[in-house]
Amino acid sequence: MSFEILTFSFMHRALISGIAIAILCSIVGLFLVLRRYSLFGDAIAHSSFGGIALGLLAGVYPLWAAYGVSIASALIITKVKDRYNISGDASIAVLLSSGIAVGLVIIGLSGGFTIDIFSFLFGSILLVSVDDTVLILGLTGAILIVILLLYRQLLYSTFNEEQAKVSGIPVEKINYLIVFMAGITVVTSIQLVGVLLISALFVIPNVTAIMYGKGFKQTAIISMSLSIFSVIVGILVSYILDITPAGTIVLISIGLLAGTMGIKSAGLLSKN
Protein backbone atom coordinates (compact mmCIF):
# COMPACT_ATOMS: atom_id res chain seq x y z
CA MET A 1 0.00 0.00 0.00
CA SER A 2 1.31 3.44 -0.83
CA PHE A 3 1.48 6.49 1.37
CA GLU A 4 0.82 8.65 -1.64
CA ILE A 5 -2.55 9.74 -0.25
CA LEU A 6 -0.76 11.59 2.52
CA THR A 7 0.75 13.93 -0.03
CA PHE A 8 -2.56 15.22 -1.42
CA SER A 9 -3.33 18.68 -0.17
CA PHE A 10 -7.09 18.00 0.02
CA MET A 11 -6.15 15.13 2.32
CA HIS A 12 -4.09 17.47 4.50
CA ARG A 13 -7.03 19.84 4.79
CA ALA A 14 -9.41 16.99 5.54
CA LEU A 15 -7.15 15.61 8.27
CA ILE A 16 -6.44 18.98 9.85
CA SER A 17 -10.07 20.07 9.97
CA GLY A 18 -11.10 16.56 10.96
CA ILE A 19 -8.77 16.63 13.96
CA ALA A 20 -9.97 20.10 14.99
CA ILE A 21 -13.57 18.99 14.82
CA ALA A 22 -12.81 15.78 16.70
CA ILE A 23 -11.34 17.82 19.55
CA LEU A 24 -14.15 20.35 19.55
CA CYS A 25 -17.01 17.84 19.42
CA SER A 26 -15.54 15.66 22.13
CA ILE A 27 -14.98 18.41 24.71
CA VAL A 28 -18.27 20.25 24.08
CA GLY A 29 -20.02 16.88 23.89
CA LEU A 30 -18.58 15.84 27.25
CA PHE A 31 -20.44 18.66 29.00
CA LEU A 32 -23.64 17.77 27.13
CA VAL A 33 -23.38 14.04 27.90
CA LEU A 34 -22.79 14.77 31.59
CA ARG A 35 -25.84 17.04 31.60
CA ARG A 36 -27.94 14.20 30.13
CA TYR A 37 -28.28 16.30 27.05
CA SER A 38 -26.62 13.89 24.65
CA LEU A 39 -28.97 14.41 21.73
CA PHE A 40 -28.78 18.19 21.89
CA GLY A 41 -26.13 18.23 19.17
CA ASP A 42 -28.45 16.24 16.96
CA ALA A 43 -31.30 18.65 17.59
CA ILE A 44 -29.15 21.65 16.68
CA ALA A 45 -27.99 19.84 13.57
CA HIS A 46 -31.59 19.29 12.48
CA SER A 47 -32.53 22.88 13.17
CA SER A 48 -29.69 23.96 10.91
CA PHE A 49 -31.63 22.29 8.10
CA GLY A 50 -34.31 24.93 8.66
CA GLY A 51 -31.57 27.54 8.71
CA ILE A 52 -30.09 26.45 5.40
CA ALA A 53 -33.51 26.49 3.73
CA LEU A 54 -34.24 29.91 5.19
CA GLY A 55 -30.90 31.19 3.93
CA LEU A 56 -31.57 29.95 0.39
CA LEU A 57 -35.02 31.53 0.45
CA ALA A 58 -33.78 34.87 1.77
CA GLY A 59 -30.69 34.90 -0.40
CA VAL A 60 -28.34 34.76 2.59
CA TYR A 61 -25.30 32.50 2.42
CA PRO A 62 -26.81 29.22 3.77
CA LEU A 63 -23.98 28.55 6.21
CA TRP A 64 -24.38 31.91 7.95
CA ALA A 65 -28.15 31.42 8.07
CA ALA A 66 -27.55 28.00 9.59
CA TYR A 67 -25.33 29.52 12.31
CA GLY A 68 -27.90 32.20 13.10
CA VAL A 69 -30.97 29.99 13.12
CA SER A 70 -29.40 27.05 14.95
CA ILE A 71 -27.85 29.10 17.72
CA ALA A 72 -30.91 31.30 18.16
CA SER A 73 -33.31 28.37 18.30
CA ALA A 74 -31.04 26.46 20.69
CA LEU A 75 -30.94 29.44 23.05
CA ILE A 76 -34.70 29.95 22.78
CA ILE A 77 -35.50 26.31 23.50
CA THR A 78 -33.21 26.45 26.54
CA LYS A 79 -35.04 29.51 27.83
CA VAL A 80 -38.47 27.93 27.21
CA LYS A 81 -37.39 24.68 28.82
CA ASP A 82 -36.34 26.43 32.05
CA ARG A 83 -39.31 28.76 32.10
CA TYR A 84 -41.97 26.06 31.68
CA ASN A 85 -40.06 23.25 33.32
CA ILE A 86 -39.94 21.02 30.23
CA SER A 87 -37.63 18.02 30.52
CA GLY A 88 -34.37 17.95 28.54
CA ASP A 89 -35.31 15.08 26.23
CA ALA A 90 -38.70 16.58 25.37
CA SER A 91 -37.14 19.95 24.54
CA ILE A 92 -34.66 18.19 22.26
CA ALA A 93 -37.57 16.52 20.42
CA VAL A 94 -39.27 19.90 19.97
CA LEU A 95 -36.14 21.55 18.57
CA LEU A 96 -35.31 18.62 16.32
CA SER A 97 -38.72 18.27 14.71
CA SER A 98 -39.37 21.99 14.33
CA GLY A 99 -36.07 22.51 12.52
CA ILE A 100 -36.89 19.85 9.94
CA ALA A 101 -40.48 21.04 9.62
CA VAL A 102 -39.47 24.66 8.99
CA GLY A 103 -37.00 23.50 6.35
CA LEU A 104 -39.52 21.29 4.57
CA VAL A 105 -42.25 23.94 4.54
CA ILE A 106 -39.90 26.62 3.21
CA ILE A 107 -38.68 24.31 0.47
CA GLY A 108 -42.31 23.52 -0.41
CA LEU A 109 -43.40 27.17 -0.45
CA SER A 110 -40.52 28.29 -2.58
CA GLY A 111 -41.39 25.74 -5.20
CA GLY A 112 -38.47 23.62 -4.13
CA PHE A 113 -34.79 24.25 -4.54
CA THR A 114 -32.21 21.57 -4.40
CA ILE A 115 -30.45 21.31 -1.10
CA ASP A 116 -27.72 18.74 -1.45
CA ILE A 117 -29.37 16.38 1.00
CA PHE A 118 -26.67 13.77 0.66
CA SER A 119 -23.89 16.14 1.63
CA PHE A 120 -26.08 17.59 4.40
CA LEU A 121 -26.60 14.12 5.83
CA PHE A 122 -23.09 12.75 5.40
CA GLY A 123 -20.87 15.80 4.98
CA SER A 124 -18.08 16.23 2.49
CA ILE A 125 -14.87 16.21 4.42
CA LEU A 126 -12.69 15.59 1.37
CA LEU A 127 -14.02 18.74 -0.30
CA VAL A 128 -13.13 21.14 2.52
CA SER A 129 -11.52 24.35 1.25
CA VAL A 130 -8.59 26.34 2.63
CA ASP A 131 -11.00 29.03 3.88
CA ASP A 132 -13.11 26.40 5.64
CA THR A 133 -10.03 24.95 7.27
CA VAL A 134 -8.95 28.35 8.56
CA LEU A 135 -12.45 29.07 9.90
CA ILE A 136 -12.58 25.68 11.62
CA LEU A 137 -9.16 26.14 13.23
CA GLY A 138 -10.09 29.63 14.40
CA LEU A 139 -13.36 28.55 15.98
CA THR A 140 -11.76 25.52 17.58
CA GLY A 141 -9.06 27.70 19.11
CA ALA A 142 -11.57 30.26 20.37
CA ILE A 143 -13.84 27.68 21.98
CA LEU A 144 -10.92 25.85 23.59
CA ILE A 145 -9.69 29.12 25.12
CA VAL A 146 -13.15 29.88 26.52
CA ILE A 147 -13.34 26.37 28.00
CA LEU A 148 -9.90 26.67 29.60
CA LEU A 149 -10.68 30.09 31.07
CA LEU A 150 -14.08 29.06 32.47
CA TYR A 151 -13.09 25.50 33.30
CA ARG A 152 -14.19 25.56 36.94
CA GLN A 153 -17.50 27.29 36.24
CA LEU A 154 -18.36 24.94 33.38
CA LEU A 155 -17.49 21.81 35.34
CA TYR A 156 -19.08 22.91 38.61
CA SER A 157 -22.41 23.95 37.10
CA THR A 158 -22.52 20.69 35.16
CA PHE A 159 -21.80 18.68 38.30
CA ASN A 160 -24.42 20.31 40.50
CA GLU A 161 -26.28 23.48 39.56
CA GLU A 162 -27.59 24.25 43.00
CA GLN A 163 -24.22 24.04 44.72
CA ALA A 164 -22.59 26.01 41.92
CA LYS A 165 -25.15 28.78 42.52
CA VAL A 166 -24.37 28.82 46.22
CA SER A 167 -20.70 29.19 45.33
CA GLY A 168 -21.60 32.33 43.42
CA ILE A 169 -21.29 30.92 39.89
CA PRO A 170 -23.67 32.52 37.34
CA VAL A 171 -25.17 29.16 36.42
CA GLU A 172 -27.76 30.44 33.93
CA LYS A 173 -25.15 32.34 31.93
CA ILE A 174 -22.89 29.30 31.91
CA ASN A 175 -25.77 27.15 30.63
CA TYR A 176 -26.37 29.55 27.76
CA LEU A 177 -22.67 29.59 27.02
CA ILE A 178 -22.63 25.80 26.69
CA VAL A 179 -25.64 25.91 24.37
CA PHE A 180 -23.99 28.66 22.32
CA MET A 181 -20.72 26.71 22.01
CA ALA A 182 -22.67 23.59 21.05
CA GLY A 183 -24.45 25.57 18.33
CA ILE A 184 -21.21 26.85 16.82
CA THR A 185 -19.59 23.43 17.05
CA VAL A 186 -22.46 21.64 15.36
CA VAL A 187 -22.90 24.01 12.44
CA THR A 188 -19.15 24.10 11.88
CA SER A 189 -18.89 20.34 11.93
CA ILE A 190 -21.93 19.63 9.78
CA GLN A 191 -20.27 20.66 6.51
CA LEU A 192 -17.60 18.10 7.13
CA VAL A 193 -19.28 15.19 8.76
CA GLY A 194 -22.99 15.71 8.18
CA VAL A 195 -25.98 15.53 10.48
CA LEU A 196 -25.71 11.80 11.02
CA LEU A 197 -22.25 11.94 12.46
CA ILE A 198 -22.74 14.86 14.82
CA SER A 199 -24.29 12.85 17.62
CA ALA A 200 -21.71 10.16 17.16
CA LEU A 201 -18.81 12.60 17.61
CA PHE A 202 -20.52 14.32 20.54
CA VAL A 203 -21.45 11.18 22.40
CA ILE A 204 -19.57 7.98 21.55
CA PRO A 205 -15.98 8.97 22.47
CA ASN A 206 -17.27 10.47 25.70
CA VAL A 207 -19.24 7.40 26.70
CA THR A 208 -16.08 5.37 26.09
CA ALA A 209 -13.77 7.79 27.90
CA ILE A 210 -16.01 7.92 30.99
CA MET A 211 -15.36 4.19 31.40
CA TYR A 212 -11.61 4.78 31.58
CA GLY A 213 -11.07 8.17 33.15
CA LYS A 214 -11.09 8.83 36.88
CA GLY A 215 -10.92 12.59 36.92
CA PHE A 216 -12.37 15.15 34.55
CA LYS A 217 -9.21 16.23 32.75
CA GLN A 218 -8.13 12.65 32.23
CA THR A 219 -11.53 11.75 30.82
CA ALA A 220 -11.55 14.76 28.49
CA ILE A 221 -8.08 13.90 27.16
CA ILE A 222 -8.97 10.23 26.63
CA SER A 223 -12.13 11.26 24.80
CA MET A 224 -10.27 13.66 22.52
CA SER A 225 -7.65 11.03 21.73
CA LEU A 226 -10.26 8.41 20.85
CA SER A 227 -12.06 10.92 18.73
CA ILE A 228 -8.92 12.03 16.86
CA PHE A 229 -7.94 8.41 16.30
CA SER A 230 -11.35 7.54 14.82
CA VAL A 231 -11.35 10.57 12.55
CA ILE A 232 -7.84 10.04 11.18
CA VAL A 233 -8.20 6.31 10.66
CA GLY A 234 -11.74 6.79 9.34
CA ILE A 235 -10.70 9.34 6.72
CA LEU A 236 -7.75 7.27 5.49
CA VAL A 237 -9.53 3.92 5.45
CA SER A 238 -12.60 5.32 3.74
CA TYR A 239 -10.46 6.90 1.05
CA ILE A 240 -8.54 3.73 0.41
CA LEU A 241 -11.68 1.57 0.30
CA ASP A 242 -13.71 4.28 -1.45
CA ILE A 243 -16.53 4.27 1.12
CA THR A 244 -18.23 7.10 3.05
CA PRO A 245 -15.89 8.74 5.59
CA ALA A 246 -18.75 9.62 7.97
CA GLY A 247 -19.94 6.05 8.31
CA THR A 248 -16.41 4.74 8.67
CA ILE A 249 -15.56 7.22 11.43
CA VAL A 250 -18.69 6.29 13.37
CA LEU A 251 -18.02 2.58 13.00
CA ILE A 252 -14.47 2.99 14.27
CA SER A 253 -15.58 4.92 17.34
CA ILE A 254 -18.29 2.35 17.98
CA GLY A 255 -15.61 -0.32 17.65
CA LEU A 256 -13.57 1.45 20.34
CA LEU A 257 -16.63 1.64 22.58
CA ALA A 258 -17.43 -2.05 22.05
CA GLY A 259 -13.81 -2.97 22.74
CA THR A 260 -13.88 -0.96 25.96
CA MET A 261 -17.07 -2.65 27.09
CA GLY A 262 -15.44 -5.98 26.33
CA ILE A 263 -12.39 -5.09 28.42
CA LYS A 264 -14.63 -3.87 31.20
CA SER A 265 -16.81 -6.95 31.39
CA ALA A 266 -13.72 -9.15 31.27
CA GLY A 267 -12.80 -7.34 34.49
CA LEU A 268 -9.52 -6.04 33.13
CA LEU A 269 -10.44 -2.45 33.91
CA SER A 270 -10.25 -1.96 37.65
CA LYS A 271 -13.30 -0.46 39.28
CA ASN A 272 -11.34 1.78 41.60
Binding site: L34, F159, N160, E162, K165, A209, G213, Q218
Partner: protein, 240 residues
Protein backbone atom coordinates in the same frame (compact mmCIF):
# COMPACT_ATOMS: atom_id res chain seq x y z
CA UNK B 1 -21.14 40.18 69.77
CA UNK B 2 -21.01 40.24 65.98
CA UNK B 3 -24.26 39.34 64.29
CA UNK B 4 -23.61 36.93 61.43
CA UNK B 5 -27.17 36.19 60.37
CA UNK B 6 -30.33 38.13 61.06
CA UNK B 7 -33.67 36.79 59.87
CA UNK B 8 -36.79 38.90 60.31
CA UNK B 9 -40.41 37.86 59.71
CA UNK B 10 -39.49 35.28 57.11
CA UNK B 11 -42.55 33.77 55.41
CA UNK B 12 -42.34 31.34 52.51
CA UNK B 13 -45.40 30.08 50.65
CA UNK B 14 -45.39 27.32 48.08
CA UNK B 15 -48.50 26.88 45.89
CA UNK B 16 -49.94 24.27 48.27
CA UNK B 17 -48.38 24.98 51.66
CA UNK B 18 -47.00 27.73 53.80
CA UNK B 19 -43.57 26.27 54.55
CA UNK B 20 -42.39 29.04 56.91
CA UNK B 21 -44.55 31.46 58.82
CA UNK B 22 -43.10 34.63 60.34
CA UNK B 23 -39.76 33.18 61.42
CA UNK B 24 -37.26 35.54 63.09
CA UNK B 25 -33.93 34.79 64.75
CA UNK B 26 -30.31 35.85 64.81
CA UNK B 27 -27.05 33.91 64.80
CA UNK B 28 -23.95 35.40 66.38
CA UNK B 29 -20.34 34.78 65.45
CA UNK B 30 -19.09 31.51 66.91
CA UNK B 31 -22.55 30.08 67.50
CA UNK B 32 -23.20 26.43 66.85
CA UNK B 33 -26.90 26.46 66.07
CA UNK B 34 -28.87 23.23 65.78
CA UNK B 35 -32.16 23.59 63.91
CA UNK B 36 -34.52 20.79 64.81
CA UNK B 37 -37.88 20.02 63.29
CA UNK B 38 -39.80 17.06 61.87
CA UNK B 39 -40.04 16.19 58.15
CA UNK B 40 -41.66 19.03 56.26
CA UNK B 41 -40.96 21.55 59.04
CA UNK B 42 -39.32 23.92 56.57
CA UNK B 43 -35.64 23.41 57.40
CA UNK B 44 -34.47 22.96 53.82
CA UNK B 45 -36.74 25.81 52.75
CA UNK B 46 -35.13 28.05 55.36
CA UNK B 47 -31.67 27.14 54.05
CA UNK B 48 -32.70 27.60 50.40
CA UNK B 49 -33.89 31.11 51.26
CA UNK B 50 -30.71 31.91 53.19
CA UNK B 51 -28.54 30.66 50.33
CA UNK B 52 -30.31 32.70 47.67
CA UNK B 53 -31.73 29.61 45.96
CA UNK B 54 -35.29 30.53 46.86
CA UNK B 55 -36.00 34.22 46.36
CA UNK B 56 -39.78 34.46 46.62
CA UNK B 57 -40.07 35.09 50.33
CA UNK B 58 -41.51 37.79 52.56
CA UNK B 59 -39.37 39.33 55.27
CA UNK B 60 -35.65 40.04 55.34
CA UNK B 61 -32.52 37.93 55.55
CA UNK B 62 -29.28 39.67 56.43
CA UNK B 63 -25.75 38.31 56.51
CA UNK B 64 -23.13 40.57 58.13
CA UNK B 65 -25.75 43.35 58.33
CA UNK B 66 -26.36 43.30 54.59
CA UNK B 67 -29.63 42.26 52.94
CA UNK B 68 -28.94 39.23 50.74
CA UNK B 69 -31.22 40.67 48.05
CA UNK B 70 -28.80 43.60 47.75
CA UNK B 71 -25.47 41.82 47.80
CA UNK B 72 -24.24 38.31 47.15
CA UNK B 73 -20.87 38.95 48.77
CA UNK B 74 -21.79 36.85 51.78
CA UNK B 75 -21.64 33.71 49.63
CA UNK B 76 -17.84 34.03 49.67
CA UNK B 77 -17.81 33.54 53.44
CA UNK B 78 -20.12 30.58 53.36
CA UNK B 79 -19.74 26.82 53.04
CA UNK B 80 -22.82 24.70 52.38
CA UNK B 81 -23.32 20.96 52.63
CA UNK B 82 -26.66 19.96 51.05
CA UNK B 83 -29.06 17.37 52.41
CA UNK B 84 -28.52 15.11 49.41
CA UNK B 85 -25.67 16.01 47.11
CA UNK B 86 -27.13 15.05 43.74
CA UNK B 87 -24.85 14.12 40.86
CA UNK B 88 -24.63 11.52 38.12
CA UNK B 89 -23.27 8.30 39.59
CA UNK B 90 -20.61 7.88 36.91
CA UNK B 91 -19.66 11.56 36.72
CA UNK B 92 -15.93 11.47 35.95
CA UNK B 93 -14.54 13.59 38.78
CA UNK B 94 -12.14 12.56 41.51
CA UNK B 95 -12.39 13.59 45.15
CA UNK B 96 -9.75 16.24 44.43
CA UNK B 97 -11.77 17.54 41.46
CA UNK B 98 -14.85 17.93 43.66
CA UNK B 99 -13.00 19.75 46.43
CA UNK B 100 -11.32 21.98 43.84
CA UNK B 101 -14.77 23.10 42.64
CA UNK B 102 -15.20 24.79 46.00
CA UNK B 103 -11.91 26.64 45.66
CA UNK B 104 -12.14 30.22 44.46
CA UNK B 105 -8.50 30.96 43.65
CA UNK B 106 -6.41 28.49 41.66
CA UNK B 107 -3.40 29.53 43.71
CA UNK B 108 -4.69 27.88 46.87
CA UNK B 109 -4.18 24.41 45.41
CA UNK B 110 -2.23 23.29 48.54
CA UNK B 111 -5.29 23.92 50.63
CA UNK B 112 -6.97 20.92 48.97
CA UNK B 113 -4.47 18.40 50.35
CA UNK B 114 -4.53 20.08 53.73
CA UNK B 115 -8.30 19.84 54.06
CA UNK B 116 -8.41 16.25 52.77
CA UNK B 117 -5.91 15.29 55.46
CA UNK B 118 -7.88 17.08 58.13
CA UNK B 119 -11.02 15.11 57.22
CA UNK B 120 -9.20 11.76 56.93
CA UNK B 121 -9.96 11.29 53.25
CA UNK B 122 -6.55 12.09 51.78
CA UNK B 123 -5.99 8.52 50.62
CA UNK B 124 -9.25 8.72 48.66
CA UNK B 125 -8.14 11.78 46.70
CA UNK B 126 -7.78 10.06 43.31
CA UNK B 127 -10.92 7.94 43.56
CA UNK B 128 -13.98 8.78 41.56
CA UNK B 129 -16.63 10.42 43.74
CA UNK B 130 -19.45 8.06 42.70
CA UNK B 131 -17.49 5.02 43.89
CA UNK B 132 -17.31 6.16 47.51
CA UNK B 133 -19.64 5.22 50.34
CA UNK B 134 -22.27 7.66 51.56
CA UNK B 135 -20.22 8.65 54.60
CA UNK B 136 -17.06 9.16 52.56
CA UNK B 137 -18.93 11.26 50.00
CA UNK B 138 -20.32 13.38 52.75
CA UNK B 139 -16.86 14.13 54.10
CA UNK B 140 -15.80 15.10 50.57
CA UNK B 141 -18.65 17.59 50.39
CA UNK B 142 -17.69 18.99 53.79
CA UNK B 143 -14.12 19.34 52.51
CA UNK B 144 -15.46 21.18 49.47
CA UNK B 145 -17.44 23.49 51.75
CA UNK B 146 -14.41 24.16 53.96
CA UNK B 147 -11.67 24.63 51.36
CA UNK B 148 -12.36 28.37 51.06
CA UNK B 149 -11.94 28.98 54.81
CA UNK B 150 -15.57 29.99 55.26
CA UNK B 151 -16.73 31.95 58.29
CA UNK B 152 -20.08 30.16 58.29
CA UNK B 153 -20.85 26.53 57.62
CA UNK B 154 -24.42 25.49 56.79
CA UNK B 155 -25.23 21.79 56.90
CA UNK B 156 -28.63 20.34 56.03
CA UNK B 157 -29.28 17.08 57.92
CA UNK B 158 -25.90 15.68 57.10
CA UNK B 159 -26.02 12.32 58.88
CA UNK B 160 -29.00 10.53 57.38
CA UNK B 161 -28.04 6.99 56.40
CA UNK B 162 -24.52 7.07 57.82
CA UNK B 163 -23.01 4.59 60.27
CA UNK B 164 -22.39 5.50 63.90
CA UNK B 165 -18.60 5.50 63.63
CA UNK B 166 -18.67 7.97 60.74
CA UNK B 167 -21.20 10.10 62.59
CA UNK B 168 -18.91 10.24 65.65
CA UNK B 169 -15.95 11.26 63.52
CA UNK B 170 -18.07 13.81 61.73
CA UNK B 171 -19.30 15.30 65.01
CA UNK B 172 -15.80 15.59 66.42
CA UNK B 173 -14.74 17.40 63.24
CA UNK B 174 -17.65 19.83 63.58
CA UNK B 175 -16.84 20.45 67.24
CA UNK B 176 -13.23 21.24 66.37
CA UNK B 177 -14.20 23.57 63.51
CA UNK B 178 -16.44 25.48 65.84
CA UNK B 179 -14.23 25.62 68.93
CA UNK B 180 -10.74 25.89 67.41
CA UNK B 181 -11.33 27.60 64.07
CA UNK B 182 -14.27 29.69 65.36
CA UNK B 183 -16.45 28.83 62.39
CA UNK B 184 -20.12 29.64 62.92
CA UNK B 185 -22.15 26.51 62.26
CA UNK B 186 -25.81 26.23 61.35
CA UNK B 187 -26.90 22.67 61.23
CA UNK B 188 -30.31 21.04 60.78
CA UNK B 189 -31.05 17.69 62.34
CA UNK B 190 -33.72 15.26 63.53
CA UNK B 191 -31.46 13.97 66.24
CA UNK B 192 -32.28 15.67 69.56
CA UNK B 193 -29.48 13.90 71.46
CA UNK B 194 -26.86 14.97 68.95
CA UNK B 195 -28.06 18.55 69.02
CA UNK B 196 -27.97 18.45 72.82
CA UNK B 197 -24.36 17.24 72.79
CA UNK B 198 -22.98 19.49 70.05
CA UNK B 199 -24.88 22.70 69.60
CA UNK B 200 -24.78 25.67 71.95
CA UNK B 201 -28.00 27.12 70.50
CA UNK B 202 -31.20 25.47 69.38
CA UNK B 203 -33.98 26.59 67.06
CA UNK B 204 -37.16 24.50 67.01
CA UNK B 205 -38.90 24.86 63.72
CA UNK B 206 -42.25 23.58 62.62
CA UNK B 207 -43.47 26.12 60.08
CA UNK B 208 -43.23 28.64 62.89
CA UNK B 209 -40.29 28.97 65.21
CA UNK B 210 -41.46 27.88 68.62
CA UNK B 211 -38.18 28.07 70.48
CA UNK B 212 -34.85 29.73 69.87
CA UNK B 213 -32.20 30.05 72.54
CA UNK B 214 -29.42 28.31 74.39
CA UNK B 215 -29.31 24.54 74.23
CA UNK B 216 -29.29 24.14 78.01
CA UNK B 217 -32.43 26.25 78.38
CA UNK B 218 -34.27 24.05 75.91
CA UNK B 219 -33.22 20.68 77.25
CA UNK B 220 -33.61 21.59 80.91
CA UNK B 221 -37.23 22.51 80.23
CA UNK B 222 -39.08 19.19 80.11
CA UNK B 223 -42.26 20.87 79.01
CA UNK B 224 -40.61 22.33 75.93
CA UNK B 225 -39.01 19.04 74.97
CA UNK B 226 -42.31 17.25 75.42
CA UNK B 227 -44.12 19.88 73.41
CA UNK B 228 -41.58 19.49 70.62
CA UNK B 229 -41.86 15.71 70.61
CA UNK B 230 -45.64 15.87 70.47
CA UNK B 231 -45.60 18.36 67.62
CA UNK B 232 -43.23 16.06 65.74
CA UNK B 233 -45.42 13.05 66.42
CA UNK B 234 -48.45 14.88 65.08
CA UNK B 235 -46.53 15.82 62.02
CA UNK B 236 -45.65 12.17 61.49
CA UNK B 237 -49.30 11.15 61.81
CA UNK B 238 -50.21 13.70 59.15
CA UNK B 239 -47.62 12.30 56.85
CA UNK B 240 -48.48 8.63 57.20
Amino acid sequence: MLKVVEIKNLTVKYPDVKALDDVSFTVNQGDFLGIIGPNGAGKSTLFASMLGLHTKYKGTIKFFDEDIKKSKNYLKELGYVPQKPIFEKNFPVTVTDVVRMGLRKESDENKIDEILQQLWIHELRNRRIGELSGGQQQRVFIAKALVNNPKILILDEPVTGIDQQSIDLFFSILRELNSKQKITIIWSSHDLDAVNKLANHVACLNRTLFFHGETEKFFSDDKLVKQYSEASMQEHMHHH
